[in-house]
Symmetry: C2
Subunit: 353 residues, 2 copies
Amino acid sequence: MDMKNITLTDIAQELNLSRSTIDRVLNDRGNVAVDTKKRVLRYINELGYKPNRAAKHLAKRTNCSIGVSYYLPNEFALQINRGINTVYEELSNYGLNVLIRAADSPEEQLLQIKEMSEQIDALALAVWEPDLVGDLVNDLIDDGLPVATFNRDLPDSERLFYFGCNYFESGQVCGGIIEKITSKPGKIAIINNHDILGEYRAKGFKSVLSDNFQYDIIGPYEICEEFEVEGSINEKVIEDIQSIIKDNPDLVAIYVANQTLCAAGKAVELLGKQGEIKLVGFDLYEQTVSLIEKDIIQAVVCQEPFNQGYYPIKILFELIAEGKEIEKSKFITRLEIVMKENLRYYHNYDYIK
Amino acid sequence: MDMKNITLTDIAQELNLSRSTIDRVLNDRGNVAVDTKKRVLRYINELGYKPNRAAKHLAKRTNCSIGVSYYLPNEFALQINRGINTVYEELSNYGLNVLIRAADSPEEQLLQIKEMSEQIDALALAVWEPDLVGDLVNDLIDDGLPVATFNRDLPDSERLFYFGCNYFESGQVCGGIIEKITSKPGKIAIINNHDILGEYRAKGFKSVLSDNFQYDIIGPYEICEEFEVEGSINEKVIEDIQSIIKDNPDLVAIYVANQTLCAAGKAVELLGKQGEIKLVGFDLYEQTVSLIEKDIIQAVVCQEPFNQGYYPIKILFELIAEGKEIEKSKFITRLEIVMKENLRYYHNYDYIK
DNA sequence: TTGTAGGCGTTATCAC
DNA sequence: GTGATAACGCCTACAA
């Protein structure tokens, strides 16, 4: 119960050396005789000595500013911010500082990254259009700035790691759900963006359903809602989806792979087709909630938005402040199935705190 | 970027007092003149001063042993242990110590709790049969030992908090899933335990399906598998479930509310009814996995087993070591829907190591 | 190549 | 009531 921990001083005394020498060995600061080093290392291994984190932080008085830049749908950003706030609260008195820049356009994001790059020790990044910022990011990395991506990766860059979902598999999950909940044969429409990630989501979806002869997959239709969906939904978008429904009387399901799910819900509702046409898509927005409750949307697949804010920063901080190595180049978030019955656990739900 | 944090010493200097006095005010140690106290408190509020956690831990050299006692299905315990190990790694060099006692029977659990109660500063508890240990726990609490429950609550005791799922709602989620994936009308069998939690799960299930006239709910059948399911499954249990299936040709689904799900899967498989009879239940064991992959079990509802090991200990530690207040008397875990497609994210999945 | 000394921001133990 | 002073375990000069 009262097992005293071994300290650096203990080791120094035991080996008749000074604390600094032990410190030099432990932190690879050089200037230690090979023999001494070996002796210390062996002894340390035997003991299973672990440095005291509190003391380390206190002595180093680390001070590390991490920048976050994203261009993402507003409501998704909100959930990510919650994760950022939490990690800030946990680590701010260990010296963490966070700068958040939310962009309203890819161009603005470029400027924001450039601007804050001077003041930060690391950068966490979610970019919608890789082509625009790719060069800048590579320059920053070449200059020695540690960069990580979240939500959307920059696979061609030298970023340290990506933290987010697997888009292909996210499509598969939706495919599996639709297959399970659709009772009659017919057509299934895909709505998505024609960017690379939208296509992964379509491919994943098809990989599950292509063997199933009772369904005929139509689309993909490129219909896309704005990022700033708050109250009002783009009428044109709803109309476009309504015409798909009207043109295909044997439509049994719609799979929405982008942020247009609410609009699709409205379209289904306006035509009185709820329940008849199954609706499945991604992410949980304020507007999605009531559509799920009304059984217009049957299921939604989420990707741990909170953790997408929380972990990238935590990992970067531990890298910079504690020299902890990064264990993976891809941290893939869980794909969470949310339906009416477990909805409340995924919408503004902080069971801790 | 380099914003120096305010320290206790800063405050002392500014107010022409010693650090000790500030410390007395901050930690309510008494022996401070009322006026001085007021003056200090006001100034601290203005500044928004936050004590440095690292320094605090270092100076206090806290040493806190938390005991964990549970009597639970083996494989579930395994997942909980992972959470315990993680929190131990995070906090052991802040002075956390953990004692785990896994019981093989309620009687053994009673003894184990009694035995370790002398050596611990707090206790986290999961008990299957409240009646047996209830008195002991209340005695311990009266003696001043902080006790928390996880997975299964002791609602009549004075435990500090419960960390686990809502059993009624977990039944609802299964009801919702079965309603969505079952395409034809018929009978649905419930298998559960006749304890209070098993009944909550049955009630929650019925609350969703009772309005639906196409289903006829039969049971509950009290059939129960042992805790030590490893490779071999109780033949008798499988036979019992097979007879239910044989006796009810129009059975469209089975809802298993206890740890008998795998046995039910075997029964369905042996009779060649996979896909025809939908199968839904709780928790993810090694044996469940292959049954889900083979489409014999359509979905499983999980309850964050990792976090059930992680958080109770973390919360108790923060209470004891940092005097942090406990914010709720119930921390309700998410109900996670796991199907074939997102299975890999819930089975031995540590995306963060 | 090694050692010494002082400090990080708290808490704890004395004196006054 | 209040204030010195020495820890806690580690890091960082600087000296030897």
